[in-house]
């Protein structure tokens, strides 16, 4: 088991060969897995201290003069502390800044509610020009990081804190914007984003004839794959470690809009709390049992 943020950190190190790639953080280098990049490319690593608004502005400035900045902090702080800066300097200016938020979701665990960012997908997907990616495991986070570097324009990727189950392999293809159908079926369809995909697959296998889609890209959303599922399956269940209002589930509902029943699983309009990550998942309804119940 490896963590999504490790996938990011390892990929960032690999990207370091490109002299235009720079890395920035706000006093969180070890936690966001930038230490290896920092050690190998010290002149291309910048720490702004505990100052997330500045973090975004500086990254924008760097992108303006031709660099490819990867900017990382915890979701609660980025976009949490610096939404206006992202909106104005990154999205509105259409700057080539890559934002990677770690520690998103209930998955954060013991640090508690204030650190469990549950609203970031909603915030980021409504920004014009923004690409939003939610990889499901280490391998996918690695590939997504490489893909973001190739893409021109603002990108946002969210990962959690814990080590999670390996769902995809090194050979599984990955393309931004192209959802992956991992199980076929017509009884129902589960759409999952992030490591909760693991439980979605478990639930589908236990029930049978249930389609499972890995919706790793919230924006631009894979309209074709989702509408196909809405047409061919009797109902859709979405699941994400995020508020059910405004996140991936809402994006799917907007798209499907009446064509088929959508049940959104996630955090139901409340804040999180301190506790063991796995136990919190159970408490807040993000396990295969909850999915099976919804099926």
């Amino acid at each position: 088991m490896k963590a999504g943020r490790d996938g990011f950190g390892d990929a960032l190190l690999a990207l370091g060969k490109n002299k235009q790639v720079v890395a920035l953080t706000a006093d969180l280098s070890p936690s966001v897995r930038m230490d290896a990049f920092k050690k190998k490319y010290p002149t291309r690593f910048f720490d702004v201290g505990v100052a997330e608004q500045n973090l975004i502005g500086v990254a924008s400035g760097l992108s303006h003069v031709g660099k490819i900045p990867f900017t990382s902090s915890f979701g609660a702080f980025m976009p949490g502390m610096c939404y206006q800066q992202i909106r104005t300097t990154v999205a509105y200016n259409n700057n080539n800044v890559k934002l990677v938020a770690t520690h998103c979701g209930i998955d954060v665990g013991e640090d508690g509610a204030m650190h469990q960012m549950l609203e970031d997908i909603a915030l980021m997907r409504v920004l014009p020009n923004m690409t939003v990616v939610v990889p499901c495991d280490y391998n996918q986070a690695y590939k997504a990081t490489l893909a973001m570097a190739k893409l021109k324009g603002p990108c946002y990727m969210r990962v959690g804190r814990s080590k999670t189950m390996e769902i995809t392999s090194k050979r599984t293809p990955f393309k931004i914007g192209r959802a992956q159908t991992l199980r076929k079926g017509k009884k129902a369809c589960i759409i999952a984003s992030g490591p909760v995909l693991y439980d979605a697959l478990k639930a589908a296998d236990e029930v049978g004839n249930v389609r499972v889609i890995n919706l790793h890209t919230i924006k631009p959303i894979d309209t074709r794959t989702i509408l196909k599922a809405a047409k061919e399956c009797k109902k859709i269940i979405t699941i994400e470690d995020h508020q059910i209002a405004g996140g991936m589930g809402s994006a799917v509902s907007e798209l499907v809009s009446g064509k088929c029943e959508v049940v959104r699983l996630g955090i139901d309009d409340e804040f999180g709390e301190s506790g063991n990550s796995q136990e919190l998942m159970k408490k807040f309804g993000l396990t295969k049992e909850h999915i099976k119940k919804a099926l």
């Binding site: 201290g49 100052a51 608004q53 502005g57 303006h64």
Partner: protein
């Protein structure tokens, strides 16, 4: 404020870059002497947007009126001591041009009396006409007398004028200068230095017109910073209007984006885009938005929400060895983001980051002292590890001097300005931070600015 009119008497006009001269002045003076080079054909060959102010120092004025009209002349001047002055005035008017009467140093001003209400301009010679490079004869007492005869007539002085003699003729409207400009290695630099105040005044007029036409906008800070922007765009920044993204350019980041009218005016006047865009300010479907956006040529960053610009400028200075100039306001020192950038700039020793603060002591809802007192800004910036210079932000020479910098620390230039500078009823008043002048107010403002020219 006296306007400069370059005179091309002794030089080869084909070697001049008129496009550059057009940035600073509106008229060019052409002396026509017997057997001289400026025949109507030669004058026609001069392709420029500058108004051609032609002085016919030849015997046959009447025969030459139409030929010079066809050559593009806007104004014809001839000597008041000629014969048939009234006839000549009529003919010039009939041809659709303005009339100027020239008066030699030894001629008494009263000679103008019979004609003073019939003409547009008086050309006061301060040397004996015909040859360049003569010494200035002090005719300043004539200027006052002519103004008394007719306050509406434009008074221009020609002959031996240098920068130091401009003081002596400060009540005249136009100074015609030839050898002082063209005997130098870089004549356009001389024109620029002499005209910068006038350019800044034009920028102020643009600001009033733009905001009045849009019925919204922020005049206070823009008027206060007109001198800084004029100096930056006309006298300091390195850029290429034909290659806007030139990778060796100086970057200019405007953080307090609401004063963008000052920036837009300068960008238009140096050629980033057409001046015709200015009247479309804030209009639906037009290029110049209420706050800067990156699709406008010459704009490096979108701005509006305060406190963000310095971060971006610091990022640019961090990733590039080019100079990065950042304009911030004193009001936005309230934003924490600003100080985060201040700390970072010191940490990474951004000596190529030069920041100019519009220290006008006002913000939207009141004076900065009442809303959020800033106390000793110089001390604050010094303690944060910057170099600091404090200047009069409405003095062109001080602005230019302060921008000359080479250091290991980032530089903060605290530019003490008067908000609303140039318009008496706006000066120093926070109420004009974001209020648009109505038509009556705009007219009054433009009158004041025209008078100071």
């Amino acid at each position: 404020m006296i306007k400069i009119e370059p005179s091309i008497l002794d030089i080869d006009a084909s070697k001049l870059n008129f496009k550059k001269i057009e940035k600073y002045v509106e008229r060019v003076h052409i002396d026509v002497v017997p057997k001289g080079k400026y025949t109507p054909t030669a004058v026609k060959r001069i392709r420029t947007e500058l108004e051609k102010d032609v002085h016919l120092m030849i015997l046959d004025v009447e025969k030459n009126i139409i030929p010079y009209k066809n050559a593009g002349a806007s104004i014809i001047n001839f000597n008041v001591m000629s014969e048939n002055v009234i006839e000549k005035i009529k003919k010039i008017r009939k041809a659709g041009m303005k009339v100027g009467l020239a008066i030699n140093p030894e001629t008494h001003v009263n000679v103008l009396l019979p004609f003073i209400k019939k003409i547009d301009e008086v050309l006061v010679m301060s040397v004996h006409p015909g040859k360049g490079g003569q010494r200035f004869i002090n005719i300043s007492s004539k200027i006052k007398k002519i103004k008394q005869m007719n306050p509406d007539v434009l008074i221009k002085v020609d002959g031996g004028i240098k920068e130091s003699t401009l003081r002596k003729i400060k009540n005249a409207d136009v100074a015609i200068i030839g050898s002082y400009i063209f005997n130098k290695k870089k004549p356009i630099e001389v024109i620029k230095k002499l005209s910068l105040k006038h350019v800044a005044n034009n920028v102020r007029k643009d600001i009033i017109k733009m905001i009045n036409k849009a019925s919204s906008g922020h005049p206070g800070g823009a008027l206060g910073m007109a001198d800084v922007f004029t100096t930056l765009y006309f006298d300091e920044l390195k850029y290429d209007v034909n290659n806007v993204k030139w990778d060796k350019r100086d970057y200019l980041v405007l953080s307090n984006g609401h004063i963008c009218t000052a920036l837009y005016s300068c960008l238009a006047r140096v050629g980033f885009f057409s001046r015709s865009e200015l009247e479309g300010f804030r209009k639906t479907g037009r290029m110049l938005e209420g706050h800067p956006s990156v699709h406008i040529p010459g704009i490096e960053n979108g701005s509006g929400p305060l406190g963000i610009g310095l971060s971006q400028a610091a990022g640019m200075a961090l990733g590039s060895s080019n100079r990065v100039f950042c304009v911030v306001s004193d009001g936005e020192q309230d934003e924490g983001n600003n100080w985060e950038a201040v700390m970072l700039a010191a940490k990474y020793k951004l000596g190529n980051l030069i920041t100019i603060m519009d220290r006008n002591k006002i913000q939207l809802s009141g004076n900065t002292k009442e809303v959020m007192e800033l106390k000793n800004l110089k001390k604050k910036y010094l303690t944060f590890g910057w170099n600091v210079r404090s200047i009069n932000g409405n003095n062109l020479k001080q602005i230019k001097k302060s921008l000359q910098y080479k250091g290991k620390k980032p530089l903060m230039i605290i530019a003490n300005t008067t908000p609303g500078k140039g318009v008496s009823f706006m000066e120093g008043k926070y109420e004009w931070h974001g209020k648009a002048p109505n038509d009556k107010e705009a007219m009054k403002a433009l009158e004041e600015l025209d008078e100071s020219r």
